[in-house]
C-alpha cells in the first residue's frame, strides 16, 4: 500500500488578495513504502509547498492527502500523530535549534511524543551515532557548534522521532562538498538501515541520481512525472526544456551518443559510467 497518496491536491496562496498564486495544482501521486524518492523542480515550482502537505502542516485548498491510508485533516486532533509518523526536516534546519544542549534539543520531538525517559535516551544516543555526532558534543550548546554539526543535530532531532517517512528539504544546501557528501551519505545509510521511506528535495541532480530510486518532478505547480530515476533522466530533453539539468555525466554520455559512440543509455552516475567505459575499453 502506498504510504503517501494524494488526490487532486491543490494549494492556493493568498486566495482573495492581489497576490493569489496556485502553488500546487491538482497533484495525484502514490509513494510506496521503503522508497527513496528524490524531488526536483525549479525554484518556486511548488516542491516545498507539496511536502508540507505530507505531514499536515498545510491544509490543501482542495483535494486530499492520505498517509498510511488515513485521510489528513478529517480529524484535527489526529494531525499531531501524523507529524510523528512523517518527519519533516526543513531547509536550513539548524535555525530551529533552541535548547541549552544538543541532547535536550534532540529530545524535543520524542518528548512531544510522550515517550518515557529511557526510550528518549536510547533514541538520542542512537540517532546521534547515526548522524555521526560524537557523544561529547551532546552536552554542549548547539550554538557553539559548527554549521555542519548544527545541521546534524537538527536532522537528528527529527530522526529521533523514528518517523515512518523522513522528508528532507535540501538537507545539504550551504555546506561544503565534504559536508554535503557526509550528510547525504548518512541519510542513505539511515534509509538502508531502517528501510523507511525517505523523500529528498534537492537541486543537485548528481545527488539525486546517486542516492534515489525514484524521482518526482514538479514543474510550474504541476506534477510533471513520478518515475524510476533512470526513466526520468532518460527524458533529458524535456527536463532541460523546463530549466532543469540532468547530471553532468548524463550530458557527457548523451553527447557521446550524438557523436556516434555506442556506449550505453541511462548513464546518470559516475560509478556506472566508469563501469561502462572500462567494459568498452576491455572489448577493444
Amino acid at each position: 500500500m502506498a504510504i503517501i497518496k494524494t488526490e487532486d491536491l491543490t494549494y492556493v496562496y493568498g486566495d482573495g488578495t492581489p497576490f493569489r498564486k496556485v502553488a500546487v495544482d491538482h497533484v495525484n501521486l502514490e509513494i510506496d513504502e521503503g522508497e527513496m524518492v528524490g524531488v526536483i523542480g525549479h525554484t518556486g515550482s511548488g516542491k516545498s509547498t507539496l511536502i508540507q502537505h505530507f505531514n499536515g502542516l498545510l491544509k490543501a485548498t482542495s483535494g486530499s492527502v492520505y498517509i498510511d491510508g488515513e485521510r489528513l485533516w478529517d480529524d484535527k486532533a489526529k494531525l499531531r500523530p501524523v507529524r510523528f509518523k512523517v518527519g519533516l526536516v526543513f531547509q536550513y534546519p539548524e535555525y530551529q535549534l533552541f535548547e541549552e544542549t544538543c541532547y535536550k534539543d534532540i529530545a524535543f520531538g520524542p518528548k512531544n511524543m510522550g515517550l518515557d525517559k529511557q526510550e528518549i535516551d536510547r533514541r538520542i544516543k542512537e540517532t546521534a551515532k547515526l548522524v555521526g555526532l560524537p557523544a561529547s558534543l551532546l552536552d554542549k550548546s548547539p550554538f557553539e557548534l559548527s554549521g555542519g554539526q548544527k545541521r546534524r543535530v537538527a536532522i537528528a532531532g527529527v530522526m529521533a522521532m523514528e518517523p515512518k517517512v523522513l522528508i528532507l528539504d535540501e538537507p545539504a544546501s550551504g555546506l561544503d562538498p565534504k559536508g554535503r557528501e557526509q550528510i547525504l551519505g548518512l541519510i542513505k545509510e539511515y534509509h538502508q538501515e531502517k528501510k523507511n521511506t525517505v523523500v529528498l528535495v534537492s537541486h543537485s541532480m548528481e545527488d539525486i541520481a546517486k542516492h534515489t530510486t525514484k524521482i518526482l518532478v514538479m514543474n510550474k505547480s504541476k506534477l510533471f512525472c513520478y518515475d524510476d530515476t533512470a526513466k526520468v533522466f532518460h527524458r533529458a530533453k524535456e527536463l532541460e526544456e523546463m530549466g532543469l539539468a540532468v547530471p553532468q555525466i548524463t550530458r557527457v554520455f548523451n553527447r557521446l551518443k550524438a557523436m556516434g559512440v555506442q556506449i550505453g543509455d541511462d548513464v546518470y552516475t559516475t560509478k556506472y559510467a566508469k563501469q561502462l567505459l572500462l567494459k568498452m575499453l576491455a572489448n577493444q
Binding site: 492581489p18 508540507q52 505531514n55 502542516l57 499531531r80 507529524r83 510523528f84 518527519g87 519533516l88 526536516v89 526543513f90 534546519p93 535555525y95 530551529q96 535549534l97 533552541f98 524535543f108 520531538g109 512531544n112 511524543m113 550554538f143 532531532g157 527529527v158 522521532m161
Partner: protein, 267 residues
C-alpha cells in the same frame, strides 16, 4: 494568522491618492484629523464621513479593507461608545433606572465619538495603504528635518524606522518557518492553559532572537562595507518634488475643511 497584521500593508496602485507626495499626504492626514475633531454638529461630521469615503473610492483600495482596518479596534470603539452612553448625564434623559441614566446628549456624544474614531482609523489606514513604508519614512525624515537644528538625530531615527519596517516581513516569514519546523517536531501551540501556551512559545522565540541578532550583525557589517556614516551630506535616489497634483490634493481637502467650518458657524 500572522499574515493578517496590517502594519505597513501597502496596496500598490496608481490612483491620485497613491501619486500624492508622501509629505503632503502626511500633512493632509493631520489636517483631516483636526477636521474630524472640530466638526461639532451632525452636518459637519457628515462632511468628514463623505471625505473619508470619497477619498477611499478615489484610491481604488478594495472597500472591504475599510472593515479590515477597523476590526482590530472594534472592542475599543464599543467601550468608548458605552462609556459615553452611560456616563454623559447632561441633556434630556431618555431612560432612567436606578443609577443608569441615558440622555440625548449621551447618545449624541457616543455616536459622535464612534463616527470620529472609525473615520480616523480608516483615514490613517488609507495613508499606509497608499504609501509604501519607505516613502513614508522618507517623508517623515524630511518633515522633521528642521529639528536637526536642535540636534535631534532625525536621519538616524528615520534610518532606524526604515530598517525596522524593512525587517518586519522578514521576521514574520522567519517566525512562520520556525513555527512550521517546531510543529513538525510535534510542538503543540494550540491547546493547554495560557501558561502552557506561553511556554510553548519558547522554541519559537529563541531561534527568532538568535536570527534577529544574526540579521543585525550582518546588516551592520554590510552597511559598514559600503561606508555608511550617517546622514551628513547624503543625497537621495528618489527626490521628493511637489507636483501640480499635490496642489489639487490640498485644495480638495481645503474644500471639505471649509465646509466643516462654515457648517460650524451656521450651526
Amino acid at each position: 494568522m500572522i499574515k493578517d497584521i496590517t502594519i505597513g500593508q501597502y496596496f500598490p496602485g496608481k490612483s491620485a491618492v497613491h501619486r500624492l507626495d508622501a509629505r503632503v499626504k502626511i500633512l493632509l492626514t493631520i489636517a483631516f484629523i483636526v477636521m474630524l475633531f472640530i466638526a461639532d454638529d451632525i452636518a459637519g461630521l457628515g462632511v468628514g464621513v463623505a471625505f473619508t469615503f470619497l477619498t477611499f473610492i478615489i484610491s481604488r483600495i478594495p472597500l472591504k479593507m475599510m472593515w479590515k482596518s477597523v476590526r482590530p479596534i472594534l472592542i475599543i470603539i464599543i467601550i468608548t461608545a458605552l462609556l459615553n452612553l452611560f456616563f454623559v448625564h447632561t441633556g434630556e434623559p431618555y431612560f432612567e433606572w436606578k443609577f443608569i441614566k441615558i440622555t440625548d446628549k449621551g447618545v449624541e456624544t457616543a455616536v459622535f465619538m464612534v463616527v470620529r474614531i472609525v473615520c480616523l482609523i480608516i483615514g490613517t489606514s488609507l495613508l499606509t495603504y497608499t504609501t509604501s513604508p519607505i516613502d513614508l519614512t522618507d517623508a517623515i525624515e524630511r518633515l522633521l528635518s528642521p529639528l536637526k537644528k536642535i540636534k535631534v538625530p532625525v536621519h538616524e531615527l528615520a534610518m532606524m524606522m526604515t530598517i525596522a519596517l524593512r525587517f518586519i516581513p522578514t521576521l514574520i516569514e522567519e517566525t512562520d518557518k520556525i513555527t512550521a519546523a517546531q510543529k513538525a517536531r510535534g510542538a503543540d501551540l494550540e491547546t493547554g492553559s495560557i501558561f502552557k501556551k506561553a511556554k510553548a512559545l519558547i522554541p519559537i522565540l529563541i531561534p527568532l532572537f538568535v536570527s534577529s541578532f544574526r540579521h543585525a550583525e550582518e546588516l551592520a557589517l554590510a552597511m559598514e562595507c559600503r561606508c555608511y556614516h550617517g546622514g551628513e551630506g547624503r543625497t537621495k535616489m528618489k527626490q521628493l518634488k511637489l507636483k501640480l497634483l499635490d496642489l489639487w490634493g490640498t485644495l480638495y481637502l481645503c474644500l471639505f475643511f471649509a465646509g466643516v467650518i462654515v457648517l460650524n458657524i451656521l450651526g
